[in-house]
Symmetry: C2
């Protein structure tokens, strides 16, 4: 066993870990006690739902509120929590490894040598992670309870508060209201708590840790600067455009304050929460297209969110700016990026775009839905967002399998790539001569 | 005058040259003798048509056959020829400059010093270019005449042969049949002559020159290898998918040979000719999406075609492959790319994608057409392709202006960028320290 484990690369650990959890979750959701009809889910829908929960995507083929018993929805909540913690700890770990310039393999070997210092560092990391997560989720659940206990019985309100706090912090997007948060479009408490959870969950554990440590006067890393700036830009641009585009569409008739609240929520949810307060299927085509772009970029590394990540986008934007202004070094904030990081950012983006194009094409061949609906669904699955114009439940079995694979690939893909590329990178023994090629 | 000219960068020369030609063309198309109704075109449609012709795009807001007199269509043909030759000579020139590692500015200065060798090199280049162009166009026109003289009177057939030969070789996509080549879906002569013109025109003058010179035993450049390989892959993938997707759709009822011919044409025309033998608006969504991807990639540098270019795509694919397989150098065919070429390829692609996203969003806000139609139209305009699902003639004035700008940007943009980036590139006086950022 130990021998076998040693042969796995960290990327393979990650993929197999997720795979095992999804399999266990699927089996649990197929049990008769999981669903209200007493029959359990069919295998395709069970795997779909377990993948959607574990990958914190939030796309659903059965209505979570109506289909599942308390047992079923608790399984989903646990899958969300495990999936969210898993991705946060794994990617934070990798980020630390990258920061310290030693490979994970070296670190694992060091561990096996029982180097207490390293292990205690990891243990502390996990302690921090669990501490942050449960503190934030607990606080949010308490506030949600104050609001929800007005509408629901005590225990019902407790359960709903915990479920939605976990779902929101992990950017999972699962809900037990039956229509996401559409009943709460103008509810300030619900909106702000959920938005805060989404942003905290999506900003990345590394950044949270750094902000926390900053109180102890440490310097801000480039990573944190980029995450914060790009996230703010996405929120601001999203808010302004959504407000303008939906003012006379889905927001027609709402009071001004509710319009502002709804536009804020619309700009936050593609980071990649998946809750909605307005009916997604009725948004304008231009709004949906904008959301597609935001979902593709997604959240930040070390977070529960998906997408190509804000830092990937940031590195590309810095490269663009420096190329257009004619700099040779790719500089930002008095630091420069090594070419391997830039290559990596573009590689992740191109492969992600390739996956989206492939899946979209396949779905277009299989299904009769409009191009926009299909592209939206695919990017939502890839970015583990979980928003949908409403076609998920009407997909054929083959399409459900495709979307399941896309959710899985979107969850483990970019991170695995990022790690796998780092692992394998090796110096060539010799360099070929360069030859120029005209591009553009 | 001379003083002013000196202050223009080569990129600015290119842009102002195109601008002046478009303005002259617009004025000519506004003359009463240009249109059959004796009123000339309105200013917006005149600028649209002149831009479409000069940028060899081929999108039309008025039916070329019905609207224009012989004078009008001859103006269009001349704009196509000037625009096509301009882009071929400029980009070939830039490619040579890049190949010889001296800047165009240096070369222009050398010229001003009356260095006969340099000038004679340029004169020879232009001679070659004109020779190739008129030889190919003349030969093709002669073959087209043999076929068209069966259906049309002598002089009509002569004019039609020349017009379509010029339009096809320059990848312009303008036609005088009223419905592109839909009447000739199964016509072997027309199909093969037009496809040959499109491919030759789209493969780039540099490659043609090299193949021509190869007879004299020179080595094949990396540029040529990439162009040929990527072009072949795009043709093959396009053919197979189009054949499969449209077999039971737009090709239903056609004999097998015509189906094969139609699929071949569909795979060739996005490189960026813009002719169609099947009604574009009736293609499946999946086919249209595939065509969008092919149009975005486009043709090769030094050709009359648009898009981000096959070499740009090739450089990115090589980078992807090397990153995923863990190479440090970006190698292909025993050569490696310098990081600046890779940055340039990704920069051009990202800025192009950014332009497409921006224009698509604006059009979606203005118009009520479906997302797929609008995206198709935008990429077609950007890639100077000229295919349309049929919405061009129904666009509002504001949208026509937007598409005009997009055609212009798509024509001069990537090349200008490629040159401008090369021009301005300078070594920094000092390097900032690197800092790692986690992407993906
Ligand atoms: K989600
Ligand atoms: K064209």
């Amino acid at each position: 066993m130990k021998f076998k484990m040693k042969n796995l690369t960290p990327a393979q650990y990650l993929v197999s870990g997720y795979f095992v959890i999804i399999m266990i979750g699927s089996i649990l959701l197929m049990l008769p006690i999981a669903t209200n009809d007493g029959q359990g889910l069919g295998i395709i829908d069970a795997v779909f739902t377990a993948t959607s929960a574990t990958c914190v995507t939030g796309l659903i083929v059965v209505n979570t509120k109506e289909a599942f018993t308390i047992f079923g929805s608790t399984v989903i909540m646990l899958l969300i929590q495990i999936g969210g913690l898993g991705i946060m700890s794994m990617s934070t770990l990798f980020a630390f490894v990258i920061g310290k310039k030693i490979s994970l393999k070296e670190r694992l070997i060091i561990q096996e040598d029982l180097n207490q210092y390293q292990i205690s560092g990891m243990v502390r990391l996990v302690q921090y992670l669990l501490g942050f997560t449960f503190t934030i989720e607990g606080t949010a659940a308490a506030i949600l309870f104050l609001r929800l206990s007005q509408d629901y019985s005590f225990w019902k309100a407790v359960y709903l508060s915990i479920f939605h706090s976990v779902s929101a912090f992990n950017n999972a997007g699962f809900d037990l209201f039956g229509n996401s948060l559409e009943n709460f479009a103008g509810d300030i408490t619900i909106n702000f708590v959920i938005m805060a959870l989404i942003i905290l969950g999506g900003i990345g554990f590394g950044v949270m840790l750094e902000v926390y440590n900053r109180v102890k006067f440490k310097k801000t890393t480039l990573q944190t600067k980029i995450v914060v700036i790009i996230t703010l830009i996405m929120l601001l641009v999203g808010f302004i455009l959504m407000f303008g585009l939906e003012y006379n569409n889905t927001m027609r008739g709402l009071p001004l304050l509710d319009k502002i609240l709804s536009a804020m929520f619309l700009s936050v949810t593609p980071r990649t929460a998946g809750f909605n307060t307005l009916p997604t299927g009725q948004l304008r085509q231009s709004s949906l297209f904008l959301i597609i772009v935001l979902m593709f970029i997604g959240a930040s590394p070390g977070s529960t969110g998906g997408g190509i990540k804000t830092t990937t986008f940031g590195v590309m934007m810095v490269t663009l700016k420096n190329m257009v202004t004619g700099k040779e070094d790719m500089e930002v904030y008095n630091r420069r990026f090594e070419k391997q990081i830039i290559y990596k950012a573009f590689t992740i983006t191109m492969l992600s775009a390739g996956l989206v194009v492939l899946v979209t094409t396949l779905l277009l061949i299989i299904e009769d839905f409009s191009f926009l609906d299909v592209l939206f669904e695919t990017v939502s699955a890839f970015g583990t967002v979980g928003l949908s114009t409403g076609i998920t439940g009407h997909l054929s079995d083959l399409s459900r399998v495709l979307i399941t694979i896309t959710m899985f690939a979107g969850r483990v893909g970019p991170l695995t790539l990022a790690v796998a590329i780092g692992e394998k990178q090796r110096k060539g023994t010799y360099h070929y001569p360069t030859e120029k090629v005209m591009v553009g």
